[in-house]
């Protein structure tokens, strides 16, 4: 370890000493040319950090007029900023590595380049021969560079040329290209470097065909990437929306896309394993005598009720590949009696497992994306330097069209305002009594309205059901069918109107911080949706499913599936109506009649919650309506285009601040927690505790749905002894709670370990940050003591103060390096180390 420290320390120290030397020469040469060192102006000249060096450069080679002007300007600014330190202190300060890289004189760039090339060379030599130490050459170079004053740049250049020449051709060109020198300088250097191979460009002579091949491959790869990225759904539309309305609105559309992908997955799994086999071997069913009125499309009754759409259509048969379709339609299936080695497809089992597996995978994907998103937003929330990055790195220099430039600057302004409001929101504090009273009133209004809405829906559902029973006795008419749509209509009305009331209430409350306002509004809307869905679930599962005969239902599962289908459709219709009337007509009205220039604002919270509501309905209905995801896919596709065009035509960007990253985290966690969890709880409840109807569906004649698995395992045991272990597996995994306990235990342990690791990293970060702070304090202390020493020295004999200062400086830099390297021992080596603070902070950023 000691060796490596020593090894790494050297070039850096050389660099620091080098820059010190550069300054010494600057002062010397200034004195040499006869500038009066006593006069105030010169003193201030020397006070400046880099102007001295610039002056040196100008004296040594071509004179730059601007350097003088620049120094004149910055004398004023610098004097304002700094206390009047002694010149030597300032010289030392200015040569600190952290401050000298920004605007270097040519000399320094060359010397730094020198160091880099030496490092590079040493690296190559190391790879070739470990025993060959290159340290003497660096030391020799240091002594050499020290010897001359005036022609130092020449020496250095020569040194650099030598160093460069010893590198491989590719490295030479790379280093030359990456040097921040002007082209004229580079050409000079190049001439010197390549003087050994006159007239031969390194690039043209040494480009091997493999690198050409590599380039071509790269080209192809990028082409493929481009095609792949363009395959992503709605890429262009999303870009356009994001550019025009900002990240907040964009997050809504991205959410639509995420939901769409979820539903496509559900649809594919269900379609492949459940719908397709049943469609190939359709059950024997009586030809329906229903009239086709078109209303069935909305209510899901009539011929639709006896289709692949709903639970009731599926049979409890076992499809055998050897069976003829006409045999399979016989009902109970032919697989049970035929050859036991034949693979049979058990529909009830498929139904059970398909639903279970889709829920399982969806859950895992949801939890995973939620954790990812949490991690991202945590980083965003924690990361320091967000604002600075926004200021310095957000401008896209490529953009050259006037419109896009304007858009970009608008975008950056909005984002900065978002960030600002967050900063302000964190700081604001309020708590007056009147405010409290208003809040209380607002909460009681919103909670009360939610409660009454839920109660109303409960009573209405009961009433509608009674009406339906009365209707069932008479003849089926169009009016009766249309009446089925009343409940979904009422619920959607509530969903549409109450958020408006909540908006009114929150306007009354007058929140200071827009973020709090947003969260409150989301919470209220969520509460409304949850209570509505809760009431409906109670109505379906607790009332109808418990005593279906009392309600005059042959197949309650199909009925619930139809209800969910209706809800989904009516919800979509209401959203469309809202888009037309609420956005389009309102815009016309407010612009035409009220003569206001403002367009309506796109309410992200409300729209996202509507999406979540729809998705919850889909998940709830998956068990009863296997094709419900297809309906949802259609709905989302239509919704995307409708909302997009409505947004472009009618709306303006929201003035509310939106932090997209945190918002998408919130959306996905809302989707996961109340929505998915609620759906899974009610589906599990149905499977485990509710008796399936005996007249229809794949689980007829079973006490509970999950018994199908049990039954299959028993059958398997009796018919096929080779597969008996499957029975055992089923018994262990599904019926034995021990396995579940074990699984949960492992899961919890993983979570615990992760939190511990995170905690440790956080501690390390805080320690490292403290270390940076301490180093800063040390630096300040050293600077003041340096100044004190100079002041002491200045009175007895002024000119000899320099060596002492640089001695101290050297000690300090040694100390800095040592702490840096002691830190470094704990982790991997830095690739480049010119500055230890950068190293530290890089380490911090790597940890975060």
């Amino acid at each position: 370890m000691a060796y490596s420290v020593d090894f790494n320390l050297r070039p850096i120290m050389e660099l620091e000493l080098e820059s010190l030397r550069g300054d010494d020469t600057a002062q010397d040469s200034m004195k040499g040319t006869g500038l009066e060192s006593g006069s105030r102006e010169t003193l201030e000249m020397e006070v400046l950090t880099t102007e001295g060096r610039d002056r040196l450069a100008s004296q040594m080679s071509d004179v730059r007029e601007r350097a003088d002007e620049r120094s004149e300007e910055s004398i004023q600014t610098n004097l304002l900023v700094r206390k009047r330190w002694s010149t030597t202190t300032l010289r030392v300060l200015s040569s600190m590595p952290s401050r000298s890289i920004g605007q270097q004189s040519r000399l320094e760039i060359i010397s730094q380049c020198n160091i880099r090339s030496t490092q590079l060379r040493r690296y190559h030599r190391q790879t070739q021969d470990v025993s060959l130490s290159s340290r003497p050459s660096i030391r020799g170079y240091g002594i050499e560079a020290d010897s001359e004053d005036v022609c130092e740049e020449e020496t250095k250049r020569q040194e650099l040329v030598n160093n460069l020449q010893s590198l491989s051709a590719g490295d030479r060109v790379r280093l030359l290209r990456a040097t921040p020198l002007s082209l004229a300088e580079k050409t000079k250097l190049r001439k010197l470097v390549f003087s050994d191979k006159v007239g031969q460009s390194l690039l043209s002579s040494q480009v091997p065909c493999c690198s050409l091949l590599k380039r071509a491959l790269c080209h192809i790869w990028f082409g493929c990437l481009f095609i792949l990225s363009s395959l992503q759904l709605w890429q262009v539309a999303l870009k356009r929306l994001g550019g025009r309305f900002g990240t907040g609105v964009l997050s809504y559309f991205l959410f639509i896309r995420t939901l769409l992908l979820f539903n496509v997955f559900l649809f594919l799994i269900n379609g492949l394993f459940l719908v397709l086999p049943q469609a190939i071997y359709p059950p024997l069913h009586t030809p329906s005598s229903h009239r086709v009125t078109g209303l069935e499309l909305f209510t899901g009754t009539g011929y639709l009720s006896n289709s692949l759409m709903f639970y009731g259509y599926y049979t409890n048969s076992t499809i055998n590949t050897s069976c003829r379709p006409d045999e399979a339609t016989a009902g109970t299936g032919c697989g049970t009696t035929s050859d036991p080695h034949m693979m049979a497809y058990n529909i009830p089992l498929a139904y059970c497992f398909t639903i279970g597996i889709t829920f399982f995978i969806t859950g895992i994907v949801l939890v995973y994306s939620m954790s990812k998103s949490f991690g991202r937003s945590f980083r965003v929330f924690k990361s320091q330097g967000n604002m600075a990055i926004k200021v310095f790195c957000s401008w896209d220099f490529k953009v050259s069209k006037k419109m896009s430039v304007r858009m970009q600057s608008e975008n950056i302004t909005t984002q900065l305002k978002e960030l600002l409001s967050e900063v302000k929101g964190g700081e604001e504090e309020k708590g007056r009594l009147s405010g409290m009273a208003v809040h209380l009133l607002a909460w009681s209004i919103s909670l009360g309205s939610t409660f009454f809405c839920a109660l109303g829906i409960h009573c209405f559902a009961k009433y509608m059901h009674l009406r339906r029973l009365e209707d069932a006795e008479g003849e089926v008419s169009v009016l009766h069918e249309a009446r089925l749509l009343a409940l979904p209509g009422v619920v959607s009305c509530g969903n549409l109107l109450l958020p408006g009331l909540f908006n009114l209430v929150s306007w009354m409350e007058n929140f200071n911080s827009p973020i709090v306002r947003l969260y409150v509004s989301i919470f209220r809307n969520l509460l409304l949706k949850v209570s509505i869905l809760g009431v409906l679930c109670y109505h379906w599962l607790g009332k109808i499913a418990a005593e279906p005969e009392q309600h005059g239902l042959q197949c309650w599962e199909s009925f619930v599936g139809q209800e969910l289908y209706r809800f989904l459709l009516v919800d979509f219709i209401f959203t469309a109506l809202y888009t037309v009337f609420g956005e389009f007509i309102w815009k016309r009205f407010s612009q035409g009649v009220l003569r206001r220039r403002r367009k309506p604002v796109f309410d992200i919270a409300r729209n996202v919650l509507e999406l979540i509501y729809g998705q919850t309905l889909t998940w709830l209905g998956l068990l009863f309506t296997p094709l419900l995801p297809a309906v949802q896919i259609l709905k989302l596709l239509l919704l995307f285009h409708m909302k997009k065009s409505s947004l472009l035509v009618n709306c303006q960007a929201s003035r509310k601040p939106w932090r997209a990253s945190q918002m998408s985290t919130l959306f996905i966690s809302l989707l996961c927690f109340p929505s998915f969890l609620g759906a899974i709880v009610s589906v599990t409840y149905t499977i485990l505790t509710i008796k399936p109807s005996s007249g229809c569906g794949p689980f007829r004649n079973l006490p509970f749905m999950f018994h199908s698995g049990k039954q299959w395992a028993q059958e398997l045991k009796s018919t096929n002894h080779k597969l008996a272990w499957l029975n055992w597996v089923h018994h262990c995994l599904v019926e034995n709670p021990l396995f579940l306990f074990l699984l949960a235990g492992v899961f919890l342990m993983v979570i615990y370990i992760h939190t511990q690791v995170l905690d440790g990293q956080r501690k390390t970060i805080s320690l490292l940050q403290k270390q940076i702070e301490n180093e800063g304090k040390d630096k300040k202390f050293l600077i003041t003591s340096l100044q004190a020493i100079h002041e002491k020295r200045q009175y007895p004999l002024s000119p000899s103060s320099r060596p002492q200062g640089s001695e101290l400086w050297r000690k300090w830099s040694l100390k800095g390096e040592c702490t840096y390297f002691s830190l470094k021992n704990t982790g991997p080596l830095w690739p480049k180390s010119t500055n230890w603070i950068t190293g530290l902070s890089l380490r911090i950023s790597a940890l975060t």
Binding site: S74, I101, A178, M387, A388, K417
Partner: protein
């Protein structure tokens, strides 16, 4: 090249290729653009390296730079005489540093120079304000600008001297993944 007139000698081409990130074709294209800016000033024949500088106002009128809020600073940074006049070499240099393949360190150095309006080697509050006003086209109120400046300074300034040195800047840039792609001028 099918042209009868030789614009650069082979040697010049090789020098350009070794010192910049451009190919022969791109250098010819750049020359074409440079020539286009002032056809009566810039000769087609560059074999004897004429010392011709175009003023800032001309360079800034290029469509690539025309709408860029930092156009004057970019040109000033790359001008060898410090007045904003660009020779062809400076011109090539500018597009080379801002091209796609330039490494992060080089881009960081030039970005720092561009944002350093008063050329004092530090990004002080004044520089930040100027940058902000250019970014937002003066859309933010003075208080907002002030707040953003102090916040950004607080975040990026590691050593607490209330201005950003190059190492502060470099450290901050290292956390911005898309800096490389945004600090890029297409020709």
């Amino acid at each position: 090249m099918g042209n009868k007139q030789t614009i650069f000698t082979d040697e010049q081409f090789e020098a350009y290729q070794d010192c910049t990130f451009f190919t022969r074709k791109e250098i010819l294209q750049l020359h074409g653009r440079f020539h286009e800016l002032a056809p009566h000033l810039v000769p087609l024949d560059y074999t004897n390296q004429p010392d011709i500088r175009l003023p800032l106002a001309l360079i800034v009128s290029m469509p690539e730079l025309k709408e860029n809020p930092f156009r004057n600073r970019i040109v000033e940074v790359f001008s060898e005489d410090g007045q904003g006049n660009l020779s062809f070499n400076d011109f090539v240099d500018m597009f080379s540093a801002l091209c796609e393949t330039a490494p992060r360190e080089l881009k960081t150095i030039y970005a720092f120079k561009i944002y350093d309006f008063n050329v004092d080697n530090f990004l002080c509050k004044e520089d930040l304000e100027k940058t902000l006003n250019r970014l937002t086209k003066g859309e933010l109120t003075p208080e907002e600008v002030n707040l953003v400046c102090s916040k950004a300074m607080e975040e990026a300034d590691l050593d607490g001297d209330s201005k950003l040195s190059f190492s502060d800047f470099e450290n901050m840039i290292s956390k911005a993944p898309d800096f490389l792609s945004t600090f890029h001028l297409r020709i």
